[in-house]
Subunit: 395 residues, 2 copies
């Protein structure tokens, strides 16, 4: 059962020649202009297309299309990079016959090299000519870098009296950390929803999805999550509250979490999928901080890689997280087996618990027994393959 594009959206992805063999240029297009909400990297080093897209969205320009190139991030490229991003938007707009501001640009790939825009510009007519309601997979492939598989999630639901489709496409792999690093994600919907409601919904969904994942602790310069709504389903306008909004939010959350988890599963060289849940913190923020520390600990990841329930490393990383806690109140449960509780190691802990950390999916639960704050973070084990992949990325 293939995923489908919402009404009024077309997509395509092609190989234009910026990269050697794989698809490297994608287009998401709506026949009618869209309301857009977007989240961008908080890295102070922002790629040119991120700077440009923020400018365009601040002007409240309505958007018809997003064009994405993979292979070059167009970052740390100064004024020339800004000109290249503007050139891409203008050229795509001319082909699509829409205003220049109606085309947003994203880029992903190597940082600090000037783009060769020639194959990209040359490819645009071909890219647009191939736009199709079946072009979702091609577009999802065109935004990939070291990703091993394309990432699509979608939901169909009823709101405002009409059937609404919401479909998201993402790329990830490597450099993924809280603050949604090296993520490109485009969620398209035919819902008729106010710009304000759209922004509220995206901000709310990100906390438990794109901001709740980490691969290697690095935050990218190009991270972008865009939510485009073209209203083609003809539903009664969804405002920022009420039952219809709640339905929209619930489905957006589901799509976002599904894509976020796929990104983690496809972390560079990733093997096991790790869920870190912290409960009993003084606040949600504290729970998040402790969960990030555990999920980000290289020694914890190595323990998972080795199938070794070295729970002391989990206690240690939480203790060093900056969160106030009482070590003696900690409760540490790995894959359902309690290793530490009430100030002492569980009796069976001879580190030979054969069932723990052996499956593809691993659960680390830490209850601080100091409050009601909870948070979940998703991450993956780090492997030798990660080291290999990232040691020779540019050479």
């Amino acid at each position: 059962m293939g995923h489908k594009l919402p009404k009024g959206f077309l997509a395509n992805g092609i190989h234009c020649g910026a990269k050697k063999k794989r698809k490297d240029l994608s287009l998401f297009y709506s026949e009618s202009p869209c309301a857009v909400a977007a989240l961008f990297t908080r890295n102070l080093v922002k790629a040119a297309p991120v700077v440009l897209a923020r400018e365009q969205l601040n002007k409240n320009a309505r958007t018809n299309a997003v064009v994405v190139n993979s292979g070059n991030a167009n970052c740390m490229t100064g004024e020339r990079g800004m000109n290249d991003a503007r050139l891409m938007a203008r050229a795509m707009a001319e082909v699509l016959k829409v205003p220049e501001d109606a085309v947003l640009v994203s880029s992903t790939g190597i940082i600090g090299e000037y783009m060769d825009t020639r194959p990209i510009i040359r490819g645009m007519a071909h890219l647009a000519a191939g736009l199709s309601s079946d072009g979702l997979v091609a577009a999802a492939e065109g935004i990939m870098t070291t990703d091993r598989f394309y990432k699509i999630a979608s939901r169909t639901f009823v709101a405002g009296g009409k059937k609404i489709v919401m479909t998201g496409v993402a790329k990830g792999a490597g450099m993924v950390k809280p603050d949604m690093a090296t993520i490109l994600c485009y969620i398209l919907t035919d819902a008729n929803i106010s710009q304000k409601a759209l922004k509220k919904a995206l901000a709310s969904s990100a906390g438990d999805s794109f901001h709740a994942i980490t691969v290697d602790g690095d935050m990218s310069t190009n991270d972008t999550v865009m939510l485009l709504a073209n209203g083609a389903s003809g539903n009664k306008l969804i405002a920022g509250r009420g039952k219809d909004f709640e339905t929209f939010q619930k489905n957006l959350n589901a799509v976002s979490v599904e894509l976020a988890k796929m990104i983690v599963r496809d972390g560079e060289g990733a093997g096991k999928f790790i869920e870190v849940k912290v409960k009993g913190a003084r606040s949600r923020a504290d729970a998040k901080k402790a969960a990030d520390a555990v999920a980000g600990s290289l020694l914890v990841k190595c323990a998972v890689l080795g199938g070794d329930p070295n729970w002391g490393r989990i206690a240690s990383s939480a203790g060093a997280s900056g969160v106030d806690l009482d070590p003696n109140k900690m409760e540490i449960v790995l894959d359902g087996v309690t290793f530490f509780k009430n100030g002492r190691a569980a009796a069976h802990v001879n580190r030979k618990v054969s069932s723990v950390f052996k499956g593809e999916d691993v659960r680390i639960e830490l209850n601080l027994h100091g409050g009601r704050g909870e948070a979940v973070v998703y991450t993956c084990e780090i492997s030798k393959k990660y080291i290999t992949l990232n040691s020779y990325y540019t050479t």
Copy 2:
């Protein structure tokens, strides 16, 4: 030329049987009681011997000896662990015929397992009987865990009218990060110096040494740096200011930095030694924060491992560090070669600069051109060997 112990100090290290083959028990002993300054881990999860030593030092007890076991960290072991630490102090004090409070205990090794104190207690008579002014290397070996080589640094200088010897011994490897994680370090001196001056000197020296190193970003539960002064050189008492103090401080800094660098060079599976220098930050704290971020970036470490001057990752990790900076003002110099300056990549940057990241020692310099804050952080590349070592640590 062997390093020597300061006057009035004796040391020894033996294999007592807590570990399989290597030395596992060390003793540093002073014939006369010492003034002591100490720094301990800031991890909220603190090992029992750390809790005990802090209690003893808060009572201002004078110290004659430090006994150190390797193999078990005696951490997350609750009241039983505290009793084991006290038992070690008491048993060692009995053998040495000094007050119980005059013996400090340190432990390093696995977290969360109860200690088997029997071989340790049994070995103490033998350990004390072998105390010698030539026992430095044996003692340095006895505190090692996954260390590949023992770490000793010493200086001889004149202060207060007498020749003073200062000799430090350390262990490190793995889990080493800012906040001096998994470091045990004992610096011994025959200087006659006030407790207050000793504390001031140690606090000052740590910032550029033990707090300026990172291997994998994890902070240990057992970190301990102790500075013991027994006054045996008979110099005029050194107070917390003036020329003699400055001389003492300068030599302490030198010993501390030398030991800290050795710890980084011996990081688990470490290959290359990486110096990260940040200049031009708004403050020293900002410079430190940016340097920590660059040194802590797994992607930067991987770039060094691959001999790949991927300077974009350095810009990106600084940009994500939380430090206010202008990306266009950044200047990035790798092994003396400028890669980015004045808002643009250097003309020669085709990523084929063959000299960069190829030697054993690597230098990353980042000038933010936004102030006068400077900091240096030392780290090492991460290798596949690190992953292997830490995946099977306990099993």
